[in-house]
């Protein structure tokens, strides 16, 4: 585990650096794949950047709304570069709503745009696994298996590696290559997006099995129940998009 890299007086948080690199690479992939889907050059970049900025602002505002008294006595802290002062749910909501508004106002094709954004999301999933590996977060249950790793006083499942490998598999399976054997399943507009959700949900169900932490509901992990519901919803959406052409042809 390498939580920080120290360069003289400069302390770089490795997980943050990994996520930043993942974001940069994912954005490049998304832009390239957007152009392949006939989305004008630069539109995907703009969408991602503006949504990111809106997400960060939303996350900070969400945190301020959570602890308003803390900012009354030190209002300048609003501008502090502290990742701890971000509310993730508020940030995700703000980024999602901003992306929706941009897609509508710029008249971007919804499904091809979402399909292109999968390249960013899938790359970020890989980066998140690596970030967990660097920080030691999302650690596994104790195990006697030979590939277990020594972590936090125990021989444990390398859940961060499982997470990274599964995310890499999702990225490879959904990579928009001509010779991809799965291309038939992810070619129609919108199917790549739904397939990403479905495969990520399956990955989540598998990786969560080995994690040491978590909350239970009726004896099973809450996170797996949520992932299972997402899986059902995304399979429904995938089927709808996959056969939408046939439905249209029938109705004609």
């Amino acid at each position: 585990m390498f939580p920080v890299i120290q360069l003289g007086p400069l302390v770089i948080q490795t997980p943050g650096l990994v996520l930043l690199l993942g974001f940069w690479a994912g954005m490049e992939f998304a832009e390239r794949h957007a152009v392949q889907r006939n989305i004008p050059e630069g539109k995907a970049y703009n969408l991602i950047w503006v949504s990111l900025i809106a997400g960060l602002l939303g996350a900070r505002l969400g945190y301020i709304a959570q602890y308003p008294a803390a900012f009354v006595s030190s209002p300048l802290s609003i501008l502090a570069l502290s990742p701890q002062m971000l509310s993730i749910p508020s940030g995700l909501l703000a980024a999602f709503l901003t992306a929706l508004v941009i897609i509508q106002r710029k008249e971007l094709p919804v499904w091809p745009t979402l399909d292109s954004l999968v390249s960013l999301l899938a790359t970020m999933a890989v980066a998140l696994g690596l970030a967990h590996l660097a920080s030691g977060d999302a650690y596994g249950l104790p195990t006697a298996l030979p590939w277990g790793i020594e972590l936090w006083g125990n021989h444990r499942h390398p859940t961060q590696l499982y997470e990274t490998i599964l995310a890499l598999l999702v990225l490879v399976v959904l990579w928009p290559a001509r010779k991809n054997p799965c291309s038939e399943w992810i070619q129609p507009e919108g199917t790549r997006f739904w397939a990403f959700l479905a495969l990520s949900a399956v990955s989540w169900i598998i990786a969560e099995t080995f994690r040491a932490e978590g909350a239970l509901l009726f004896g099973v992990r809450q996170s797996q129940i949520a992932a299972w519901l997402i899986l059902g919803f995304s399979l429904w959406g995938w089927r709808k998009r996959l056969f939408s052409d046939r439905t249209e042809q029938k109705s004609l």
């Binding site: 803390a70 802290s77 249950l141 038939e184 399943w185 129609p188 004896g219 299972w228």
Partner: protein, 190 residues
């Protein structure tokens, strides 16, 4: 646009989807954790979600402080050295917060990593900045090792039941973050 989906019909997709949903439901149920298998915050480790390692140190005024004796109170542990510019920059924020929350039972422990510093420099720094919270001396580097200090300053927020809730590596820490974390720790006390 037409795609060759001849191998794949809506019916086969639905059937495969149901199989996948069934298999994943079975996986979730049959691999569910055994009672008590999931780890609570019982391990002692200097990272969020774990019990904060205990220590016994002397203050600049010669009193002995142990972390265990502060159980029941939210504790903020700040690891610092007098030569470290971000440590110097954030100390006034700790003092402001201490003045506001001391009466509510919040404890601030500024642990000077004395192996990397000089006791006299630490003392001068405290006098110059009028710091009134306890400043502890980690003279033999025990806390530095226990808390695997990668960078200075590092701040830990420890709940009343001794669990590390947050760790901030580097600085200077924002005063609002200090206040927000303290509010969170106070809110957790039943």
């Amino acid at each position: 646009m037409n795609y060759n989906t001849s191998m794949l019909t809506p019916r086969t997709f639905s059937a495969l989807s149901l199989v996948l949903l069934g298999l994943s439901a079975a996986w979730i149920i049959f691999t569910r954790p055994a009672p008590g298998a999931l780890e609570g915050p019982t391990l002692t480790l200097a990272r969020p979600g774990f019990q904060a390692p205990d220590f016994e140190l002397q203050t600049l005024t010669g009193e002995t402080v142990t972390l265990a004796s502060l159980r029941g109170k939210p504790v903020i542990i700040n690891l610092w050295a007098s030569w470290c510019p971000p440590c110097q920059a954030e100390m006034p924020a700790f003092q402001h917060v201490y003045e506001d929350y001391h009466d509510k039972g919040v404890v601030i422990l500024a642990i000077n990593l004395t192996l990397q510093d000089r006791e006299e420099d630490a003392r001068q720094f405290v006098l110059k900045n009028h710091l009134s919270f306890p400043v502890l001396l980690d003279s033999d580097g025990d806390v530095e090792r226990q808390y695997s200090t990668h960078a200075l300053p590092t701040t830990y927020f420890v709940s009343a039941d001794g669990i590390i809730r947050e760790r901030v590596i580097g600085g200077p820490i924002a005063e609002a973050l200090l206040r927000a974390q303290i509010e969170r720790l106070l809110h957790e006390i039943p």
